[in-house]
């Protein structure tokens, strides 16, 4: 799993944000479109794409997109 591929999948969960606007250090909770539906979508995407079950607390403990990527990596 590459960080860029993860960022692409992450960006897919938003309606108005393009992957090119995101990078590893993006603080995703500060994004205008971030809400509970997007959070659930990110969890579901990670389950579908990477076969990893994330918890709500994992989302809370992550600040940047790369933090989330690292959490997914650590659970592989």
């Amino acid at each position: 799993m590459e960080l860029q591929e993860f960022i692409n999948n992450f960006a897919e969960q938003f309606d108005d944000i393009d992957a090119s606007a995101l990078n590893g250090s993006t603080i995703f909770k500060d994004l205008d479109e971030w809400n509970s539906l997007v959070a659930l979508s990110v969890i579901a995407m990670i389950d579908e794409e990477y076969d990893i079950t994330l918890k709500g607390n994992d989302i809370i403990s992550a600040t940047t997109v790369e933090d989330l990527y690292n959490i997914v990596q650590s659970k592989k």
Binding site: S36, L37, L40, S41, I43, A44, M45, D47, E48, T53, L54, K55, G56, N57, I60
Partner: protein, 254 residues
Amino acid sequence: MIIMTYNPYSLEGKTVLVTGASSGIGQSTAIECSKMGASVILTGRNEERLSLTLEKLEGTGHSMIVANLDDETEIEKIVEMASQLNGCVCNAGIGLGTKPAVFYKKKELEQIFTTNTISSILLLKGLVKRKKLINPSSVVFTSSIEGNAITTIGNGMYGMSKAALTAYAKTVALELAPKGIRCNVVTPGMVKTPLTAPTGELTQEQLDADAAKYPLGRYGNPQDIAWGIIYLLSDAACWITGTVLKIDGGITLV
């Protein structure tokens, strides 16, 4: 001392089948039914947990049937083994976590409808065909406010299966009325059970904040629902069929 002899809510002398009886609302319903005088037939998948429920029942004449309602032949086994019934609580149900609609998988949809909707439909079909429900008798379905009175993101699969169950219950209430079989539904709000135990998508803080929104100040306990089910099973509800009884701490008012 006043000896209470008048109690239209009593289940004395009634035999009641409860599905999903090894935990949660089903277990509590089984226990409360026994306290109200019923002979209870428990069903559930897990023999060990079902035995623990059996031990908790008061009085005598109770029994258990270990069966997986997802399997049609096991439903047939329940129908076969059940004695004549005055009541049936179609309560078995599962949740599959919280997930947005664009991520649903066919397998998950089939699973949740099989367990939450189809199993109760087939069980009641069998009981009626084999004339196990006497005239008069009462069937109660455990549905949910989700899908019936409220809609929340991520809970669509569960809500759909429960809304379908409610729709079915109303039809079958109409069709079975001539046989003296009443069919009613309870729609609980959030009740603290193994099914609703935090699976992790939501944090404890989010759950606490949600519980605080309930006008009566808390999530439900399984007993809160069991007592409503007992009312619908009892002779006190003899002129009630096809109704949907919301037991939700007032959450659908807000």
